[in-house]
Symmetry: C2
Subunit: 146 residues, 2 copies
């Protein structure tokens, strides 16, 4: 599929109930993409794709993103080995968000900090003072739910 091959969104009914994949790229040219471990169900990372990254993901079956910090296409795992093989891709009701169920290569990790998931901290509010701080999140539990 050419990078320009995604048709523009149609009517609301078409977008929400139709069979046409018409991803709604934002003003910045990006859609949000969530990666979930297809084996454990663990939520791994939230990133973004432009048209080219999305087209490459569909063509290759591996996750490509647009790195906003580096301003470049990003083949996830190309240097780390943490390739994300796409088992399933879903789109949400208004087609501006993607959900990827992936099998992770290499050491099975995802986050550049070395953790498996980027969501490794819980936002904890003190019931008394209301003060908020971050604490380590519980490790994921075994699951049968991809």
């Amino acid at each position: 599929m050419a990078a320009s091959g995604f048709p523009p969104p149609g009517t609301r009914a078409e977008v929400e109930e139709g069979a046409a994949f018409t991803p709604r790229f934002g003003a910045d040219g990006l859609v949000t993409a969530l990666a979930v471990d297809a084996v454990t169900g663990e939520i791994l990372m939230l990133a973004h794709m432009n048209r080219d990254a999305l087209a490459r993901t569909i063509e290759t079956g591996e996750a490509w993103y647009w790195s906003r910090s580096r301003g470049e296409l990003w083949h996830k795992g190309a240097t780390s080995g943490q390739i994300q093989t796409v088992v399933e891709m879903r789109v949400d009701c208004d087609q501006d968000a993607l959900l990827l169920r992936v099998r992770v290569g290499g050491d099975g990790g995802c986050c550049h900090t070395g953790r498996r998931s980027c969501f490794y901290r819980t936002v904890a509010a003190d019931p008394g003072t209301g003060a908020v701080r971050l604490v380590p999140a519980d490790p994921p539990r075994p699951s049968t739910h991809p």
Copy 2:
């Protein structure tokens, strides 16, 4: 917590490894927020929060978002009854995305189309032609993984 009460991000090490909650709002004033069913593990929706919505979510323990389409604060479930009670909130490595594990009130649904989840369609590519279309996603399986 006042809506202006979130301190600005510090150094990269502070953002990634510190205990201070310093959400990184984008140029549009928003952070991305993902809601997951705390009981079933089902991924429900992806939405956005501005400072005020995030502050109200922390204060009330119920999910508030910023509706980009309506341009207003959105107390999820206020009209539908599908209130999202926050069981846990996590933040990602660079603190520009939130993960909310929620218990859903009302009929347990989330999507305005009437489905439980907004991610009700799979992006399916024809292996021969490469043509892409949307097909109904498999229903979620029972899970022990919140």
